[in-house]
């Protein structure tokens, strides 16, 4: 009897890997599909003079570099400039003194993107003392 019992053996238990692989692939595909690269965001510092400052509006101190941001382009010390020219002017100013204050006057009707571009060029040239003034026109 004992011999007869020994003959009847269960087949070795096998763990089927297929479902696990299926699941792993599912998860993998899910993550590949849903993962979204994140935009790198930077913050541009500006200094804003108090609006109630009683400084003369039309005559800013002459030692300031004045950048104008208008609807149709930039000006450097009231001379119209293309973005490349603005970049060149800023790099020249940064060579002289990177700590000097740049006064950026922004027209109310200009796009925000233009101001950001001007600030970006200032950051590129290492100019950190930036003052943003809003013009009413």
């Amino acid at each position: 009897m004992a011999r007869a019992r020994k003959k009847v053996e269960a087949p070795p238990a096998e763990l089927s890997m297929t479902p696990m692989i299926d699941v792993v692939f599912q998860l993998l595909i899910y993550f590949i599909v849903t993962i979204k690269p994140i935009d790198v965001i930077t913050n541009l510092d500006v200094f804003r003079p108090a609006p109630d400052q009683s400084a003369p509006k039309d005559q800013p101190p002459p030692n300031l570099v004045r950048i104008g941001v208008y609807q149709d382009g930039y000006t450097v010390n009231d001379v119209p400039a293309k973005p490349e020219e603005l970049d060149a002017a800023l790099s020249k100013m940064a060579e002289i003194d990177a700590g000097q204050t740049i006064m950026i006057t922004v027209s109310a009707f200009s796009e925000h993107g233009m101001l950001v571009r001007a600030l970006d060029l200032c950051a590129k040239n290492g100019l950190k003392s930036l003052s943003v003034v809003s013009a009413s026109n």
Partner: protein
């Protein structure tokens, strides 16, 4: 006489249960974090902007969309409401509370100026503009 044992079978039900649980969990939780900040604001590019190393936990992020509408965490705000919020932020965490303005590149400066003026009214002077340093493709 051969006695046949039933073949060992792997019960799939618990695994499928777990997989569905996982899928539902990820579908529900993914993106909640980013969606809280996700708006229709398309920020301007600033490839030279400084890299943000430490974010001040007090930072208030104000969104300005291309139509000039103001919102915080996707909640539209009137100017009065924004002033109330900024006043509260100043009372709670001081005048050096940073305000980050996430302006759409096509927003008119007028709208940005309004936000900056409200910051000034609330006594907050640390204003920064958010821009994209690198755009995720």
């Amino acid at each position: 006489m051969k006695k046949k044992f039933p073949e060992a079978q792997l019960d799939m039900t618990p695994m499928i249960d777990v997989v569905f649980q996982l899928i539902i969990f990820f579908v529900v939780t993914v993106d909640l974090q980013s969606k809280a900040l996700e708006t229709k604001v398309r920020m301007a590019m600033s490839p030279h902007g400084p890299i943000e190393e430490q974010k001040d936990p007090r930072t208030v992020v104000v969104d300005v969309d291309k139509d000039g509408d103001i919102s915080i965490m996707r909640t539209r705000l009137s100017e009065g409401q924004l002033l109330t919020i900024l006043n509260k932020a100043r009372n709670e965490s001081g005048q050096s509370t940073p305000v980050v303005i996430r302006g759409d590149y096509a927003a008119k400066h007028e709208a940005i100026k309004r936000v900056m003026d409200i910051c000034g009214q609330a006594g907050l002077w640390k204003i920064r503009f958010a821009a994209l340093k690198e755009k995720a493709s």
